[in-house]
Amino acid sequence: MPKNVDIKKVLVIGSGPIVIGQAAEFDYAGVQACRALKEENIEVVLVNSNPATIMTDEEIADRVYIEPITVDALEQIIAKERPDGLIASLGGQTGLNMAMRLHKEGILVKYGVKLLGTSIEAIQKAEDRELFKQLMLEIGEPIPESTTVSNFDDAQDFANKVGFPLIIRPAFTLGGSGGGIATNPKEFANIVHTGLLRSPINQILIEKSIAGYKEIEYEVMRDANDTCIIICNMENVDPIGIHTGDSIVVAPTQTLTNKECQMLRTSAIKIIRALKIEGGCNVQFALDPNSNQYFVIEVNPRVSRSSALASKATGYPIARITTKIATGYHLHELKNAITHKTVAAFEPAIDYVVTKIPKWPFDKFESGDRLLGTKMKATGEIMAIGRTFESSFKKALNSLEDKNIGLFRRRFSEYSTDEIGALLHVQDDRRIFRVAEAINRGVDLEEISEITKIDKWFINKIARLVNFEQKLKQEELTPDLYMEAKELGFLDAEIAVFARKRLVDVEKIREENNVSAVFKMVDTCAGEFEARTPYYYSAYGEYNEAIPNPADKSVVILGSGPIRIGQGIEFDYCSVHCAWSVKKHGYKSIMVNSNPETLSTDFDIADKLFFEPMNIETIMNVINNEKPEGVVVQFGGQTAINLAPQLAQRGVRIIGTSLEAINTAEDRKLFEKLLRDLNIPQPKGKAVRTEEEMLAAAEELGFPLLVRPSYVIGGRGMQVVYDTDELTAYFRSALKFSDEHPVLIDQYIEGKEVEIDAIADGVDVVIPGITEHIERAGVHSGDSMAIYPTQKVKPEVIDKLVEYTEKIAKALQVKGLMNIQFVLKDDVAYVIEVNPRASRTVPIMSKVTGIKMVDIAMNVAFGQSLKAQGLKTGLADKTSLVCVKVPVFSFQKLNRIDPALAPEMKSTGEVLGIDTVFEKALIKGFLAAGYKFPSHRGDVLLSLNDHFKEQSLDIAEILYDLGFRIVATTGTHKFLKAHGIQSKEIENFDLRKIQEDMKLRRLSFVINTPTTKGHGARIGSENRGFLIRTIAEMFSTPCFTSVDTARAYLKALLYYLENHGLTYNEISEYKKFPVKI
């Protein structure tokens, strides 16, 4: 029984949409929390706007609200649900900030909601820089010289006093957004200005930079009994100065003596005792590499990304125990979930090395600023476990799912040694590879360490790997050398490259010498106690601990690797549901994944968890050990799908849709033929190899056209062009034609995009619903706002969509999930894409329709037809529920990236607005995504390209009618004037004026449609547009780059101003209402 028996109902606030700095780790934490509460028979009320999460499943919480995380929404929900308590420390910074606001506005007191776990006072002391500083001074813990200021002059005074370099951190922002290191007055002025602006309380901390110190983290837990334990300490390979979310991190610390470890441990415990934290907490330290001087950098009084990593690194379920502590338990009263023999009041001992490497979006945003600093830029991360640092680090590199494997990057071999040496100074995502190249060139290791401030221990270890590459190049690949390579973590494919052999020849050595990977258990206690955790990682040359029970039948599920743009938490949702479904069918579910943030890698989701790189060799290791019935690839995004052909080649059974079907859908030629044969319309297209061919194709197909290189995926480099000039510009901007890599040109049908998610069994199809995009085709579906059910599609067109879906499903013999994207023009439905696998929208569709898509797909895979499952085939009936998905972007974290919507996906997350009235769902969607509806009518900046001017007249009229003042760039101003709409011209593109207006909030929002003037080459008006969009991002001024989004926003605004009022309900509530006809 929990100590606190008065707590019968608890409110859990989620972290909202996935953005940089706040990703899947809070779904993992939230689900653990909900489960921990339910175990205590506590009713759980969950609020989260993120529909792609598992926590928002109706099985996880008792009462699920997919509603905006706003004070208004939460107050209503609290008033209705009257929870006894609220846990603030599990929903990331969003959840914490919301709890603080609910407290400040007196809502918690008003409704008698008790804050469970860490108290408001503790949160305030940890989060408010000045209070924290005071506390540290009181308890005698060292902090770098610093000041908290709310205006520029005070900042300037401090800078004059202390001198550069200085670190600027805005208070209460996610992942340090808006902060940075200033080494001169100019940088200082810039960062201070944005920092002040970004901080919700207009406050920044400026501190003396201690860049170059070791960055050490301690994950600490405390209970009300004052028991304090360290779950794990971690060492950042990158020194202080690079955000820990952007640093390579190892656990435990490697270069610290016992005394140093204990010195920091004692300090961490002293701090959480002084703060009176109850639950999990993260303390960051800077440690001088040349003395025992240390500084306390930061305390996060909540579950964090680091705690998710620490949980996965040790097996200790931090979020779960934090929740139990919040309900009144003491650590020594709780069982260690892994050993079941010992208690939760202990410190994990680990007997392996964990490496985390961030996953950055720069492969997608090639123009993006790759420099790393105090502002986090990674979208996700991978973790690897190895028996040695070498193997752990190698595995981590191979988990990045980069084009390359290992440490070697060809592009750096082109630089001279001097250039490589100079480039070591550049702190970006590729530095570790330059370090390897520098070692390879014989640059002095001491010098490398001196420049990069990466401890020589790590440099030496990397040198061991680089030197081994040379050994592979020079020596005969004997069985002994091969074995040494395997123990160091080299993949066969890598060994083949260095030893200049074919992969099959390397695999032959493996076979002939009977080399196979073994698996070791993660057990929190370094083998001291017997444990039965089904959590494993691979090793070579050791004893195998993962012996499957021969009586068990199992299925391997491939996860989706790190969170990245285009492949997010939705696939983790699918993987987790797949594991549950596999269990239901009496099979052992075996999860393979490399992402420490997600729920799928929680050791109690699948029957067995293998923390491994998503690489064919490592997955085959698992398969060879487990001998499963087959492998499920359809839920792990492109990561898993890409592995399917190699698995099939090796004789592994793919469960569900066949490989041929996947191939047909992905191969342009086969797919074209399929649609032709089925007599289904599709945009016409050509593959061209020269400029002449291209122009001829343009002539034949007619403008507008959609152009893209053939060798990229996920819409990269894709663009809409409206005339020959634009086409030529696109062609000339760095695109290389070749026989191997032609450029693809398709008709661009500027129509309405609709999307269907379906489950097929080879005979029948179940379509839970059809979504309609708000933005016209040409915007990546992941970045479009989408409405379910469709609002403006005629019934006869819907019939066609269903018919086409059934035809395609049957022709491809899809057995499982599929997603089809259509574009509608003049009531003709053209198929633009078919994906015979889980899509981004599966979680949303499952939730809003109640049709459990993953489970049904797995039932099909296990041989139960849709009819046998008792499902109504065809399009499912609608309920009164209407929802709008709104994408959420993280541009504030990434410099030099154009926020304009394009065929290339840019969003990191999404929210869902749900209601029974479309407009209300729309409003909720916008609110949840962080948009505001201004109560006062400010200025609206209009800057439109020629193509959209005509179409935007109605928008200008509405704005005018609403009382907004239109300011417009010259061309737009002239156009509006010619159509009798008043606007104020911004002369000579006065950027400074625009910036000033945004900063002072005189501009309510911006509508700016980009023009296409070549890929990457920004000239003239387009460059101005780019600048407007970037500045708008910087100052958080809403900026609509599609007239469709702008129109939707105005529609929501109009309705909002009519004051209909919003109510917030459980998702089941919306579905319950009768369908209005």
């Binding site: 001992a349 040695t388 017997e530």
Partner: protein
């Protein structure tokens, strides 16, 4: 150079020699500390033992002059997964490998230490050997017959009288294989410390007019410390008596309790211990293969600490007789310093006793 590791159950492991050449026999045990190999090697409690480090990366920060627990290495050997040939630390003066060689201690790396740990966990502690030579039948035979020297604690003692003058209370510390950190905890608090060998008699001890007597940690079976147990019997009730680890065990024996051998002992820096009076939980550093059987303690003894992992007794006190002792190591080294307050408490008790004596 290749090194071999043989267990008395017949299992054999090969690895690379990273220490001295030759052959060493000892009792195998594992330690789960993730840092602190230098303190562990020089802790006299590890006499006659060969230590398996469960943490795989060993040697990372080399050897420095601040972290010794004694002047020499007491362990007979060390077993590692991945010895780090290149250390990195500003205080380091020597590699671990060189240090082992200088002290003529064998070391083996490249061994599946996790496998070794589970074997010890399942079969209990056993004897083992590490050799850099070819394994001979003679060696196997010797291994089967190998027994820990009964005088192990006597040999671990400095067997010298050493004085560490201070202005504070006078502690006589009986050296049964003392760790330097225990001494430092007393001298840093300005205690007047007199270190006496294991063989010190009641008369010897009392001749220094101590305000408290502390029986140190040390190796071996507590029952073998016959003479010291007798000494304690004479001292009981006359002066405050404190004990750490072996000192705790022999205090219990002197009070008529029994000790027993644990299957594989407690060795590491993450052992949770609950204070039975306050319910406070602390994490402690431990290194012991024997435990006190709490059922055999007299009624006037208060149980003070228990291990949360296996429920074994971790401390007792007897206020009537001014006795207090703990099984774990409040001096840590290596390990968490949560229990450091115990020294403060003992010093205060000694001060109280001193005050009473004066009055």
């Amino acid at each position: 150079m290749i090194a071999h590791l043989l267990l008395s159950n017949g299992m054999e492991f090969d690895g690379v020699s990273v220490g001295a050449e030759g052959t060493a026999y000892g009792e195998i045990c594992f330690n789960t500390s993730m840092a602190g190999y230098q303190e562990i090697l020089t802790d006299p409690s590890y006499s006659e033992q060969i230590i398996v480090m469960t943490y795989p990366e060993i040697g990372n920060y080399g050897i420095n002059r601040n972290d010794f627990e004694n002047e020499k290495v007491f362990a007979k050997g060390m077993v590692m997964k991945n010895y780090c040939y290149n250390y990195s630390h500003y205080l380091a003066e020597q590699t671990l490998s060189d240090y082992l060689k200088c002290n003529n201690v064998v070391g083996i790396s490249g061994v599946d230490t996790r496998r070794m740990t589970t074997i010890i966990r399942e079969s209990g502690t056993m004897s083992c050997l590490i050799t850099t030579e070819n394994v001979t039948d003679e060696m196997r035979k010797k291994l089967q017959n190998w027994q820990m020297d009964k005088d192990v604690a006597k040999n671990a003692s400095k067997n010298k009288i050493l004085k560490y003058p201070g202005d504070g209370v006078r502690f006589v510390v009986i050296d049964l294989g003392l760790k330097n950190s225990i001494l430092k905890n007393l001298t840093n608090a300005n205690c007047d410390v007199i270190l006496l060998p294991w063989s010190a008699t009641e008369k010897d001890i009392l001749s220094y007019e101590p305000d408290a007597v502390l029986f140190s940690n040390g190796p071996g079976n507590p029952e073998d410390a016959v003479e010291t147990i007798e000494t304690i019997k004479g001292l009981i009730g006359k002066v405050p008596l404190f004990g750490i680890c072996l000192g705790y065990q022999i205090l219990a024996l002197a009070m008529g309790a029994k000790t027993y051998k644990l299957k594989y002992g407690h060795r590491g820096g993450n052992h949770p211990v609950v204070n039975l009076q306050t319910n406070a939980v602390i994490l402690t550093s431990q290194n012991h293969g024997y435990a006190v059987d709490e059922k055999t303690l007299n009624d006037n003894v208060i149980l003070t600490y228990k291990n949360l992992n296996d429920g074994t007794l971790e401390g007792f006190s007897c206020p009537d007789l001014k006795i207090e002792a703990v099984q774990f190591h409040p001096e840590a080294s290596p390990g968490p310093m949560d229990a450091a307050g115990i020294f403060k408490r003992w010093i205060e008790q000694a001060e109280g006793y001193k005050l009473c004596q004066k009055m």
